[in-house]
């Protein structure tokens, strides 16, 4: 009885010792990986900071804020209480780079299952960049063409120039975001359908408003453009040059 008790105690001690050894061995195996991960994260932080600083300098030199202001992006950022587009883009690049390094470090830890998610994240990055590129240049195009429409409408003395400019801007922005969703693979079919419905609805609505709802206005407008206008222009025939 006493022997079996001693055996049992020894077994427990052995098991505990073995477990302790295993834990120590695992910790000993894990610690260097953790250190490597921390080193990777630190290097990543340094590289990301350098990237942020370099990008900020380049964007400041290229007067990116002005471009963004022209695109109307700055106004959107201000309304959302966000920093300037240069700062935002620099910070974005910093976090993407830093997060990339952290994930690289995490993959060194050898945690099963994480590897696949990390690979997916890196595969998703180019699409995210393309989407951001589309958003920025889309906003730029929307701003440019809506301003062109506004100026042309004012100089042609058309009614509601701001409504015309807003329509142009809205159509372009809807189109841009449908492209962005398609690029990101987020509800792409829905976005495409939504664009089709919105665009078709807009055109149909305008046709209805022009043809039926505002037929008097349409008649008046057309008469003013093509009948009375000629008379007015004759009276106003001052050659500028």
């Amino acid at each position: 009885m006493a022997e079996s008790e001693a055996e049992m105690r020894e077994m427990i001690v052995n098991e505990l010792t073995q477990a302790m050894h295993d834990i120590i061995r695992d910790v000993a195996r894990f610690l260097p990986r953790l250190v490597v991960m921390l080193v990777i994260a630190l290097v990543g932080w340094l590289i990301a900071s350098i990237l942020k600083w370099a990008l900020r300098s380049i964007l400041q030199l290229a007067k990116f804020d002005k471009l963004s202001e022209n695109a109307g992006a700055s106004q959107l950022l201000k309304q959302a209480a966000l920093p300037s587009s240069t700062e935002l883009l620099s910070r974005f690049v910093f976090w993407v780079a830093f997060l990339g390094f952290i994930l690289l470090g995490v993959s060194v830890l050898g945690i099963v299952g994480l590897q696949e998610y990390i690979a997916r994240f890196f595969l998703f990055l180019p699409r995210l960049f393309v989407a951001l590129f589309i958003v920025f240049f889309g906003l730029l195009a929307a701003s440019f063409f809506s301003r062109s429409a506004l100026l042309a409408s004012v100089n042609a003395d058309l009614p509601s120039p701001r409504l015309i400019a807003l329509s142009v801007r809205t159509v372009i922005i809807i189109f841009v975001f449908s492209m962005v969703f398609e690029e990101l693979g987020v509800a792409d079919q829905t976005a495409l359908l939504a664009f089709g419905v919105a665009f078709g609805g807009l055109v149909f609505g305008l046709a209805l408003a022009f043809g039926i709802g505002g037929k008097d206005l349409a008649r008046e407008f057309l008469q003013r453009r093509f009948v009375h206008r000629r008379k007015e222009e004759k009276e106003d025939e001052l050659s500028p040059l």
Partner: protein
């Protein structure tokens, strides 16, 4: 620094260099025709696009002017056409000199050549002038004139008045002075003339000329300048030619031609007209900054004949529409103006937009500040440069409304005094332009 300092040493590149540079620009067919003509003394350029209605009398006046004043010289007429569909080039090539001989009882000692070439399918004054200059360079023309096909009031004397100062008195550029109605050509008199005068220091009445003459040397210099691909070089090279002559010390003068022909250009063509003139003027400021930044005041240019002549016959003008378009422009384009104008200027314009017709007065000072702020915004490209130029149109209408109201019953002298006052204001406020140009505000 005064405008005298503008008289610099001219450096005209060798003509062969320009010729080589332009060899690829001219078509083989045109070069063949030019080689058949050989060297000439005088070249008359006729840029056209669907001018079938007016081209025949203009061509006859040019031919008569040449036969009358330059019977011994070798002369060629070059028609640079922008893809006319009304048979304009055919009218030119088919025009017989015999009609002119009989009508004016003149005799030619030499063959008067006429060549037609198509520079493109859409009209643009840049390629048209470039074709004429390259042809003149290849033919080693001593004097060249460009005549507008819309100059319905042209008489044969115009050819002599434009070409003689170049051919016989060694001037490099001859610009026109016209007799105009007091309310015609207001873009020129309210903006282009006063601003060019204040900036470059020369009192040139028509910096953007449609009828003008120049020497082969100036033509070659302008041809080699690299501005043909710019918007200004494409749509308004006439003004750039004037500025090249003024800023590089070429001998320039102006000559009185008589009444300016009435063109089809009406108020609806305001934006293209602003692009051609104001756009070119604004675009010239940056490269010429070292020249103009030191100039103060202005000096008169040699003028043959009267410096201006104003007619006063009654003219019906829809002033109400001008003011309405100004007010709607100020109200609709707030966001555009906010990026171009200083806050205080914009505030004054807003105030003006809410004035009644009787209270409305777009003062000279406000107008000059507006124009200078537009020029500085154009240099800084705060928004698309073409948008900046377009945005000036409604404000110009407001200024014109004010000018028309103030000068409704004015005599010719009063109108001239008014224009002179505006010119002085442009000169007085030039330091303001320099301040905003250099980012002082």
């Amino acid at each position: 620094m005064s405008a005298d300092l503008l008289t610099q040493q001219r450096s005209v590149p060798p003509r062969t260099e320009a010729k080589l540079a332009e060899e690829s620009f001219l078509t083989d067919d045109l070069i063949r025709q030019l080689i058949n003509v050989g060297e000439v003394d005088i070249l008359v350029g006729l840029p056209t696009h669907n001018n079938g209605k007016t081209i025949t009398p203009v061509l006859q006046a040019i031919q008569a002017g040449i036969l009358k004043c330059f019977p011994r010289e070798r002369v060629v007429i070059i028609n640079a056409d922008g893809g006319s569909r009304d048979g304009t080039p055919e009218l030119i090539t088919g025009a017989s000199i015999d009609d002119v001989r009989h009508a004016y009882k003149l005799h030619a000692l030499r063959t008067l050549h006429a060549i037609t070439t198509q520079y493109g399918t859409t009209p643009a004054s840049g390629p048209a002038l470039r074709t004429i200059l390259a042809s003149a360079d290849l033919l080693r023309a001593k004097a060249c004139a460009v005549i507008s096909p819309e100059s319905s009031n042209i008489d044969p004397e115009w050819v002599a008045r434009l070409l003689q100062p170049v051919y016989r008195e060694n001037f490099d550029l001859v610009l026109p002075v016209y007799q105009r109605h007091k309310f015609e050509g207001l873009l020129m008199r309210q903006l282009v003339y006063p601003m060019t005068r204040a900036i470059y220091g020369w009192r040139v009445r028509e910096p953007f000329a449609t009828d003008y003459a120049f020497s082969g040397g100036l033509g070659s210099q302008f041809l080699t300048d690299n501005h043909w691909d710019d918007e200004a070089g494409h749509s308004g090279p006439e003004l750039l030619l004037t500025l090249t002559a003024l800023t590089r010390g070429f001998r320039s003068c102006q000559t009185f031609l008589g009444p300016k022909g009435t063109s089809d250009r009406g108020s609806s063509d305001l934006v293209p007209a602003i692009r051609q003139t104001v756009g070119s003027l604004f675009s010239s400021l940056e490269p010429n900054y070292p020249v103009w930044s030191g100039i103060s005041g202005s000096q008169a240019l040699t003028t043959i004949g009267p410096e201006s002549e104003v007619t006063l016959e009654p003219l019906r003008v829809n002033r109400k529409r001008l003011r309405e378009m100004f007010c709607s422009g100020v109200s609709e384009l707030q966001s555009v103006f906010a990026s171009i104008l200083m806050p205080e200027t914009l505030a004054q314009l807003r105030l003006l937009g809410s004035c009644t017709e009787d209270e409305f007065r777009y003062s000279e000072e406000l107008w000059v500040k507006t124009v200078y702020e537009f020029a500085a915004a154009y240099q800084k490209a705060v928004i698309s440069r073409d948008h900046i130029v377009q945005a000036l149109a409604p404000l110009y209408r407001g200024r014109i409304f004010s000018f028309l109201s103030e000068n409704r019953n004015a005599t010719g002298e009063m109108v001239e005094a008014n224009v002179e006052g505006l010119c002085s204001e442009f000169e007085r406020l030039k330091p303001y332009l320099l301040e905003i140009w250099n980012g002082g505000k």
